[in-house]
């Protein structure tokens, strides 16, 4: 099974939440809103490229905007493999949760 770090996992989940609107800057903003901690864009880029290399997300260049100076975004979407991995993660966590006494 593919190993995922905490940052990678969070980024992957954020991408799934954002649906077609996930690119470097927006992910870093979402991360900040979600965790309350700021993260540099370069760190997010590294994480995203790592996820892409692992085949969990795929990307496409599109959606140039005025405030980007007409530069396109690299929009990330989860691959099927990515989706399956998230489900798998969720199930294994759930299983652990269910075994904690007095927490059901």
């Amino acid at each position: 099974m593919t190993q995922l770090g905490y940052l990678e996992e969070t980024a992957l989940l954020l991408i799934m939440i954002m649906d077609q609107e996930a690119y470097g800057f927006s992910v870093s903003e979402a991360y900040r809103r979600h965790t309350g901690k700021s993260i540099s864009i370069s760190a997010i880029h590294t994480v995203l490229s790592r996820l892409e290399k692992k085949g969990l997300i795929s990307s496409e260049m599109k959606g140039a905007t005025e405030e980007r100076g007409g530069r396109r975004k690299r929009i990330f979407v989860p691959t099927n493999q990515g989706k399956a991995l998230v489900l798998e993660l969720k199930e294994s966590r759930q299983q652990l949760w269910s075994q904690i006494p007095g927490m059901t």
Binding site: S40, I41, H45, M61, A64, E67, R68, G69, R71, R72
Partner: protein, 885 residues
């Protein structure tokens, strides 16, 4: 309202380091973040964050090359192949290219080595800043050595007096003195050194009786033994590595030489140590260091080392106040002008001192070489830029095709740079070899001692390699940038991409003119030096130097025996001892006429024998008086004129008048000075080198002098070799202990001008280097110009121009450049020539025609190159060029 944008330079920095395929998204994200922050916190804070964000992208992730460029990596192999093919396609051109580059770079390298050698004189010792040499001012001259109180007659304690006195000073930590045998004050004779199985001649000995102190002021590297051991007792000898090899063979280092006995001139010594050879940039040199109780001279070269905090001027003031503790009556002597000091590192650059051990640095040469080196370097760089532009102009389409096939700007740039570097790297071994082989010549020409071993040192190899690589990069940079940035269409159009940059070409013309200027300047200097040397050699010296040889011999008794023997040989015309003409200046003395107030201080006193004058063919009626008296005094014309001027007696009437030498010396015999009656006046002859104006010579001629140190022999023979070996046999029969070391007088006279003759050889070499470089530069420029004007040539031919017309139109420019360069070279060469000729009192005046001659030679070379290079284009059938139009 226009949008507020982040600072441009940070943006540019990002696009510079960030790989192309990532740039768009990264820059987009950063700009978006910037806009948000800017609205939220204001421009300053946004700028700050933007800057840090960019810096944080400096990580491998952002540098990573796109997968496509990874596929292009093997292209280097292709660049290499194409470059090799191109170089091989034009073999002559490549060979010339390599030759020019190797010759140019190695010349620059040799100049750099020479300058480093000269400028680092005496700076290798760790405490060299605190070492000073003591020099004595006597009369109008400064002696580089100190004297002993009783001169030759000083015993050990007297010799040590000055040093012992100095050692009593708090500021002085160490003091030593020595005398090299081959110095002006040394014994100046070669000696036999005997080991158990070898007997060899040595020339350079260093005598000292302060061994420990010598080693602490001038620390040596001991290969065997140590200074404590070496100087534990007198009569020890320290060998240098090369003399150990000479005496004990190649395997000397396998034996322990310490304690072995050596016999030097019948006296036995014990080897106390072996040290590394003395480097060339030290102001003294020796093969053997003799540690004995008495220094065989009337004085010694004296050095003090002061403490780190001490002030040498304090030492000197105190020494001069207390000088009479060392030299009684020093202050009474009006001729003694005090003792002063010269810092160790200044010794090599201090002019005008008497008896310096090695020739001092010639500042004119240093500056001239430095400039020539820099100009040559500039020429190399422009030449190679020109050459590579010319080369790529013909390959414009090839580069176009590369771009069409998908090469990016970066790839084209890399290709051009790789090709240029390939040639320079290929050149490296040649340049290295040239410097390696050139070093011995440089050493003998410049009288320096640079070890060939430096060619293996990283501080030589790294600059050499970087010179070359830098030359490669700089020469290809311009075409690389131009060709890589041009669009495909421009590369395929028949118009040349590089033709338009007029400003660059003007600089190039300027540099080409500079190059011609240097060539003409150096060539005319060569002519001037050659003319002066032939003037010096053709000038009659005023005595007979043909067939005269001389050698050292010790004492009257041996000389008389030898003379009697030699006079029996039919080939020997005359034998004498004493004066040998052809000298550097030495100490002078005061003289005047009896009863005169005014005293002249530039007299040279010579003691000689009747025999020596007979050998030299110098005649005077006064010599007939020698039948009745032991000695006569004759003076030369210069002395006569000077004496006539101060005494008012006409020069021809001076005969029989009384001449007084050293009038300040009070004595019982004459009251003051030494009195002589002038017996004869002879014509001037070249006793000194022609560097100096004619000096006043006061010559005392003895019939049979009691002191004899040399012998002069005049021979007339068809078989020189045979005669000389007969003389040698006769000599060795009488003096078996000292090797027979003879010199022919005419060789001796020529040796005076070795330095100048070497300067002539050197300018000839530099001129040839410049010719090679100029030819290289021209080939590049003319090649490019004819290529870019091909269609013009075609059209001219269509309209009826002949081959000659076209060649003239191509060569016209250079004629103007050479004319300008010649005009510029006139003041330069004449001034430099005059400056150089100043070292001679007898000299030619530099002529204008030498510069014009140099200009004409340059013009001829240029025309030949232009014609050879462009004749093919000029003869081409216009249809071939114009058919595409």
């Amino acid at each position: 309202m226009s949008k507020i944008l982040p600072p441009k330079w940070i943006d540019r920095f990002l696009s510079w380091f960030c790989s192309d395929h990532l740039l768009e998204e990264i820059q987009g994200d950063l700009h978006e973040a910037y806009q948000h922050r800017q609205q939220q916190f204001g421009k300053r804070k946004a700028d700050y964050h933007f800057f840090w964000d960019v810096l944080r992208f400096c990580r491998p992730y952002a540098f990573e090359r796109h997968s496509r460029s990874k596929q292009f990596l093997p292209m280097y192999k292709n660049y290499f192949k194409i470059a090799t093919r191109n170089l091989l396609k034009r073999k002559v051109f490549t060979a010339l290219h390599l030759l020019g580059l190797a010759v140019g770079i190695s010349t620059v390298m040799l100049v750099a080595l020479y300058l480093t050698h000269e400028l680092t004189y005496d700076s290798s010792h760790p405490a060299s800043n605190n070492v000073f040499r003591l020099v004595n001012n006597y009369r109008d001259q400064t002696y580089t050595c100190m004297f002993f109180k009783d001169y030759f007659g000083s015993d050990y304690d007297t010799q040590m007096r000055l040093l012992n006195h100095l050692k009593g000073y708090d500021d002085v930590t160490e003091a030593c003195h020595f005398v090299p045998s081959h110095s002006a004050i040394g014994p100046n004779e070669k000696v036999f050194v005997k080991t158990e199985d070898r007997k060899l001649i040595f020339e350079k000995l260093l005598y000292t009786n302060t061994g420990q102190e010598f080693d602490s002021i001038f620390p040596q590297l001991y290969l065997q033994g140590n200074p404590d051991l070496a100087f534990s007792a007198f009569d020890r000898v320290v060998l240098t590595e090369s003399s150990a090899r000479k005496l004990y063979g190649e395997s000397w280092s396998t034996k322990s030489l310490i304690g072995t006995a050596l016999e030097i001139q019948k006296k036995s010594f014990v080897v106390g140590g072996v040290i590394a050879d003395i480097p060339g940039n030290v102001h003294f040199e020796f093969d053997l260091l003799i540690y004995q109780q008495k220094i065989p001279s009337w004085g010694a070269y004296t050095y003090v080392k002061v403490g780190a905090e001490a002030d040498i001027s304090r030492v000197m003031t105190r020494l001069n106040t207390e000088v009479e503790l060392v030299y009684p009556d020093y202050k009474q002597d009006v001729l003694q002008k005090g003792i002063s000091s010269v810092a160790l590192q200044e010794i090599h650059f201090t002019e005008g001192m008497l008896y310096e051990l090695k020739p001092i640095a010639n500042t004119t040469y240093l500056i001239t070489f430095g400039l020539v080196g820099i100009i040559i370097l500039l020429i190399i760089w422009t030449n190679y830029t020109n050459l590579s532009i010319a080369m790529y102009a013909g390959r414009q389409r090839e580069l176009g095709v590369r771009k069409l096939m998908g090469a990016r700007a970066h790839d084209v740039k890399m290709q051009i740079l790789t090709e240029a570097m390939l040639l320079t790297i290929f050149c490296l071994p040649f340049a290295w070899l040239l410097v390696f082989l050139g070093l011995p010549y440089l050493n003998s020409l410049m009288e320096v001692k640079i070890d060939q071993y430096v060619m293996f040192e990283p501080y030589t190899l790294i600059p050499l390699a970087s010179f070359l690589i830098f030359t490669g990069i700089i020469s290809a940079l311009y075409p690389a940038i131009i060709f890589s940035s041009k669009s495909l269409l421009r590369l395929f159009s028949s118009k040349l991409v590089v033709g338009k940059i007029s400003r660059f070409w003007n600089i190039r013309n300027g540099l080409l003119t500079t190059q011609f200027f240097l060539l003409i300047g150096l060539m005319s200097m060569t002519f001037i030096i050659k003319n002066q040397m032939s003037y010096v050699q053709r000038r009659p010296p005023g005595f007979d130097q043909k067939g005269v040889l001389f050698f050292g011999i010790n004492g009257k008794e041996k000389f008389t025996r030898l003379k009697n023997r030699l006079e029996k040989f039919p080939q020997v015309i005359a034998v004498g001892s004493g004066m040998v003409p052809g000298n550097e200046m030495y100490n002078q003395l005061t003289y005047t006429m009896k009863g005169q107030e005014e005293v002249l201080s530039d007299g040279t006193l010579i003691y000689t024998s009747l025999g020596s004058l007979q050998v030299l063919g110098i005649e005077s009626d006064a010599l007939h008086l020698l039948g009745g008296q032991d000695s006569v005094l004759i003076i030369n014309q210069t002395a006569a004129e000077k004496l006539a001027a101060i005494s008012g007696i006409p020069a021809q009437d001076l005969l029989g008048e009384t001449l007084v030498t050293e009038p300040e010396w009070e004595n019982d015999t004459f009251g003051n000075g030494q009195h002589y009656s002038i017996a004869g006046i002879i014509d001037n002859f070249d006793y000194f080198s022609l560097r100096y104006p004619s000096q006043s010579l006061i010559i005392e001629v003895f019939r049979e002098p009691d002191w004899v140190y040399n012998a002069l022999v005049k021979i007339e023979s068809a078989d020189w070799f045979d005669t000389v070996s007969k003389i040698e046999d006769a000599y060795l029969a009488i003096e078996p202990e000292v090797p027979f070391d003879f010199t022919f007088l005419d060789d001796h006279m020529n040796e005076l001008y070795t330095r100048e003759q070497n300067a002539g050889i050197l300018t000839t070499i530099l001129t040839s280097v410049c010719v090679i470089l100029a030819v290289m530069g021209l080939i590049g420029v003319v090649g490019f110009i004819t290529f870019s004007r091909q269609r013009e040539i075609g059209i001219r031919k269509v309209f009826g121009a002949s081959v000659v017309n076209i060649l003239v139109s191509l060569a016209k420019n250079y004629v103007w450049m050479i004319a300008a360069a010649t005009l510029l070279a006139i003041p330069f060469s004449l001034l430099l020539g005059k400056e150089w000729l100043k070292t001679f009192a007898y000299r030619i005046s530099p002529d204008l025609w030498t510069v014009f001659l140099a200009g004409t030679v340059t013009l001829t070379i240029v025309v030949v190159v232009v014609v050879l290079q462009s004749v093919k284009s000029a003869r081409i059938n216009p249809v071939d060029i114009l058919r595409y139009e």
